[in-house]
Amino acid sequence: MPHILVAEDDATTREMIRGILTKQGYDVSTAADGMSALRTLKKKNFDLVLLDIWMPKMSGLGLIGTLHGEKHIPKIIVMTSDKTSDTVLNSLRGQVYQFLAKPVDANTLISTVDNALSEDPAVPPIEVLSANKHWVELLVPCERSVVSRVQSFLSSLETDLPADVMEKVGYAFRELLNNAIEWGGHLDPNLKVRISYIRTRKLLMYRLDDPGPGFKLEDLKHAAVSNPVDDPMAHMTVREQKGLRPGGLGLMLTQQLVDELVYNEARNEVVLIKYL
């Protein structure tokens, strides 16, 4: 039975998380502040820690720092209602597994915890090359679960953009990352996609560099993005002929959601830009 530690100073939240996870069959311990969480972690090996950031005596980030270099470091999911860039960046540097926004609900909590605990231990960690407020650069393994994890971090960075715009950019980024991991990296966790997030005064930019050989647009007749202007449904016929499931709208939608979408010549690197 996996052991989970819930470090959270609010008793009601603690009670809720413990209740939900216990019912799922997990062995759950709790700590009301950073120091007692640290003591508990020293006594017993945990598989996962659900960590609040703002806690008395020692903050969540303080705890992550203290654990650095320890022999057994459990997976850490940070739960916070404060999406400050500093918290996100420090969590990234501290090899936090995922970000979870508060207040959590049972479904999200259970699926996040299940995913974290069921992930193949052989999947390499996300490497942080830069964790600067204006420039975040990551090397991520080509594994599907990585998409929601990376997005949980990047979508939590402060951008001063309205929520609906962030949602659109988030969708576009997700689509591109999925493509990079699936088509470029063939879901091989030993291959890496390089992600850069660059924030300037005037723009927000994502760059994705996948390990594949790229693709040719003429090979994408089954995707809506290559349809002639006067025939927006052309790709459907192609998909039908090829026996593909209906769809192929991802790239097309992505193009419409952001201001610029630029590929390199080989088409294994893509840049997505949203002007602020």
């Binding site: 959270e8 100073d9 609010d10 008793a11 009601t12 939240t13 009670e15 809720m16 209740g19 939900i20 019912k23 069959g25 609040d52 703002w54 806690m55 008395p56 209602s81 404060d82 508060k102 207040p103 609900d105 049972a106 479904n107 259970i110 927006p232 449904m233 459907m236 209906p246 709208l249």
Partner: protein, 663 residues
Amino acid sequence: MSDVLEKALAEMGFALLEYRGNGEFLPIATLPTWFSEIWAETRNSSDPIPLTRQSPFLESFLLEAEDFWNSPTPAGCQSETWIEKALSGREIPVQARALLLDGNQILALLSPDAQFRERVRFLQTARNALLDHERLAREIQKKEILLHCIVHDLSQPLSIMHVAMDSLSEESISERSKQFLTLGKHAGDQQETMIRQILRTFSDDLRASLDAGTEGNVSSDLLECARKTTTSLAPTFEAKGVHLAVSSLVDLEAKWLVVAEESRLQRIFSNLLENALRYTPAGRRVAIGVEDEGDFLKAYVDDEGPGLPRDLRPEQIFGLFMKGKQSGGKAGLGLYFCRITVERWGGSIGCVTLPEKGSRFWFRLPRASGRTAASPSDAPDASNLKIAKRNPGIVRPLRILFADDQEDIRTLTAYQLKRSGHKVVIAKDGKQALNAFRSASFDVVLLDQEMPGMTGDEVARAIRKTEGGKKERVFLVASTGNTTSEDVRRLKQAGFDDVLGKPFRLEDLNRILSAAPAATDTSMPSVLPGAIFTELVARVGGDEKLLKRMIHTFRRDTPNRLAGIAEAIRRKNPEALASLAHALKGSVSIFGAESARKHTQELQDLGRGKELSRAAEVLALLKEEIAKLQANLRGYANQTPARSKSNHAKRQRPSRNRGKRRR
């Protein structure tokens, strides 16, 4: 006897022997080859052959033969065919006949080998055919079950797709997006047509799960079906050494008529019995029985196996593709099929570990008495329920309680209803719906039929019971994939006013709502504790006890937190203020108290910004909001299931309390 005659007899397969007493025989003619194959060591001996010692069959036949030989009026004595084993292992059929020829006691033996082989071949072919038939019948049954499950599960998401795309088409979207939407709608329609085609092609019975119309024989005798299934499965149970019987507690004379179709009811019994057999060790017992529960009849299968797995909830056991550890190559559809079928008939299904040993799988179905033959006026069929289309442009705001266990349908339908100007409270299961109904007033209650714990039927009955005979009744709508006229009749009996067939379109829903009686009280409900708590229970995964514990913790901790915040402000300690406000923000966010959350956020920001001048003012506002929240939570605590049950019990008494009841 001449040599030629002797040889001819041997050639024809006859062995003629004279009885010499003491179980011994002497050949009186040449013996045929088959005889030597069986009794070879005696073949060349001139001594009498002790045949009865070598053949137990002949030993017993000799008793009859001796009677025949010694009878003054012999009436013929011939044996049936029996099998002797040759020394080579070959099985040889033999027939015997006693003859009395000139006072000589003669035994004539014959091997009807050719006819016998023919008969064996014939029997074997018949047996193979029977096995093939049984295998095919099971295959067909399996496919039908699979189809049934597929259809059931395909209809659900289709509803969501329809409503989602209808919703999207009301948004302002680009022309290009509209084209995509048209494409999506077209594909949705195609899928619906395809489901119907599949049903038309494969099964009339299955088609009834989507189409209104065909009315079949829908009442069956529960006990009769149980007995038939028991009889057909008896050999399988015997083979495993498990004793199968109808419980001795059952009244065998009574009529046990339920709303159910016989062949599928037998399939349910058969699935439950096979499941019991799988887990019951040899030498133990499986009992099948029925019980009277008033409006419902209950059937059960008790086994003496290890009981239910501890790590599985009963609803998981009846889930799709759920297999036990000893699944025995099954597809994991059997119990799922039982559940969707029983629920379709307005019943429920479950299982428990028995206190002594083993487990009980049970299901209950509505009793089908004379009441099923209701008059057309009070039991219209599906076509009678079609209501004239009103102008959809005029929407009267209604107070709607909507219960469905599918989160997507809940979200989308609630969104649409709110968009149309209605006030909506959502519930994710029957129990929540009933709690919400008892805590506020509604014009329309829309209930999905197949919900865990308490089905739509059961909620409808409970609601009608709560209303008593009051003239002012809530408009009850059932949403279901099963809309045969018999289903509709059953739903009407449960107290529903109308039926919304799944998969449904927005226009279907609007049409039904336009027929709901005008609200006497047009004011919208104020903040409904029921509404908030329905969402809260969902947020904590449906665990009302956990929610109650959280409320207890919150009510216990919050005064201290507020005092701590006041103290931090008084002592001008911004760090403590930020930390305490942050923790409190967590709790109030969980309970959805948005104003309180904003105030805690503000206090936290003031603390972090070390700017305390406005802190006391914000704290005062926060205290007001917290007081409101505490009052609501207290109200909810009074509605928790345990208490509401006792309140409900009080209401049922024919007393003056009835008049005070809130609708």
